[in-house]
């Protein structure tokens, strides 16, 4: 296995287009957390023609579901949440300039089309590896919508945040590619 590729933010389209499905990466810099409620509020604001409180150009968004932080810690255990719930909002958000998304699970064809158009990459963080991921988070600062509590839009300073490219800008999908060599099962043979 090749070494992990180190990437730093801001994450440009040029950087994004170099990554291939199956690449293992370590992200250092600032990533921005947003999940269901924040996506809803932001796309509604855009539909009303308002400007968003956060500039998403060349950002990486993290679909994050944290536990409460213990006193003295920047964040609690913070693994990825299921990305599919964001799919309805994602093409609109990618048009805002987001070039990377981190979550877990499959995405809708409309999202993949928008990724190709915008040159965006979808990364998976390992589902359930929440205590490990927390180790790479150095600070947590709410940027917008504090009223959403743990679902607020927040900046996370990360060092060597581990992730794997699942869907690259060309639409190659490692959820499919990665399974093929090991699939010897046919339900009709039972």
């Amino acid at each position: 296995m090749a070494e992990s590729i180190r990437i730093t933010t801001p994450f440009t389209e040029e950087m994004s287009r170099k990554l291939k499905a199956g690449d293992s990466v370590l992200i250092t810099g600032t990533i921005i957390s947003a999940r269901d409620a924040a996506h809803k509020v932001m796309t509604e604001a855009l539909a009303r023609g308002e400007k968003l409180p956060v500039d998403w150009t060349n950002q990486i968004v993290y679909y994050l579901g944290p536990t409460p932080a213990k006193p003295g810690d920047p964040i609690g255990s913070c693994g990825p949440t299921t990305s599919g719930r964001m799919d309805a909002y994602t093409p609109t958000m990618l048009d805002q300039g987001i070039k990377g998304m981190v979550g877990k699970g499959s995405r809708e064809p409309a999202v993949i089309e928008s990724m190709k158009k915008n040159g965006a990459t979808y990364f998976a963080a390992v589902g359930g590896a929440a205590a490990l991921i927390a180790k790479s988070v150095k600070s947590y600062t709410v940027l917008a919508y504090p009223e959403l509590g743990p679902e607020a839009v927040a900046a996370l300073e990360v060092v060597d945040f581990p992730a794997i490219v699942v869907i690259d800008c060309e639409g190659n999908n490692f959820y499919e590619i990665g399974q093929q060599p090991y699939r010897h099962f046919d339900i009709n043979q039972i």
């Binding site: 255990s77 877990k104 499959s106 589902g127 205590a131 794997i164 399974q179």
Partner: protein, 280 residues
């Protein structure tokens, strides 16, 4: 008659909720390590390395292993010669859940009503509590918090007797293939066969409280567990991004059923197979 104060139940349940969230059981940890040794996919190996390291960090630092600290399933076996005093048993258990999830910095993931008004209860109560009366004068408590990434992929099939072993295998594998990489594999699969629809579902949950190193005592079921495990591990699902370690174990429990039926329920658990057990 032996007496047990509900305060003691609350205290223990609170401790157990934290324990379950922080400490992955040894049998699961060892199975992950074995999986890492045999995993063929290079990306699968990276994923398993992270999952193993995650378990070690969570244990060493008393941190939740996964951020979805689950809905709290509680199995109680109450000795018929035990007298519980000082309050209501279920209230005491729920008070323990609230205390454990609050003090332990665990995520509160329960809404009070499922359809029209999904408001978070803010302390993870109520738990899903199953109580049985058994001989003796002890209280046996098992806490099995369940994350919903995997719970949402669980399922049930009401087969007919003619479907037989083949039908059971097909039903289980259809549920597994549909779940694919979504329930955070490597998974542990609990299967309940027989009973009624509800009994089969409960058995599939109970099956997950048995050590994954132990096979069903009846050889036919032990063999079926092994065969299903091999099938699941040849689907390619692997540890989330493809590979050979899709599941760590299949645990089957069975119960008598009706002449006309063959219910099969499957509870899929993720690698976050968290449990705590105490006898008071």
């Amino acid at each position: 008659m032996r007496e047990l104060d509900v305060k003691l139940i609350t205290e223990n349940v609170a401790e157990m909720c934290k324990e379950a969230a922080y400490y992955l059981p040894d049998d699961v940890y060892r199975a992950l390590k074995r999986g890492r040794e045999t995993e063929k996919s290079p990306v699968g190996q990276i994923v398993l390395d992270q999952i193993i390291k995650n378990a070690e960090i969570a244990r060493a630092e008393d941190r939740p292993y996964c951020q979805d600290t689950g809905m709290t399933i509680v199995f109680l076996e109450v000795g018929q010669d035990l007298h519980i005093v000082g309050g209501d048993l279920e209230e005491a258990v729920n008070a323990g859940i609230a205390k454990g999830y609050t003090e332990g910095y665990l995520r509160k993931s329960v809404v009070g009503e499922p359809l029209f008004n999904r408001v978070n209860t803010t302390n993870n109560t109520p738990g899903v509590i199953y109580t049985r009366i058994v001989p003796g004068d002890k209280l046996d408590i098992t806490i099995a918090p369940k994350g919903f990434g995997s719970e949402n992929k669980s399922g049930i099939a009401m087969l007919v007797p003619a479907d037989g072993v083949k039908g059971v295998k097909r039903a289980v594998m259809e549920i597994i293939l549909h779940a694919s990489m979504n329930p955070c594999p490597p998974m542990v699969v609990g299967v309940g066969i027989g009973g009624t629809m509800d009994r089969a579902a409960l058995l599939s949950k109970k099956a997950l409280t048995r050590s994954i190193d132990e096979r069903n005592p009846m050889p036919e079921y032990a063999k079926l567990e092994q065969e299903l495990l091999e099938m699941i591990n040849s689907t390619g699902i692997g540890p989330q991004l493809g590979g050979t370690t899709s599941a760590l174990a299949v645990n089957i429990e069975w119960a008598p059923t009706h002449i006309a039926g063959l219910p099969v329920a499957v509870t899929i658990c993720c690698h976050a197979m968290r449990h705590a057990h105490r006898v008071l």
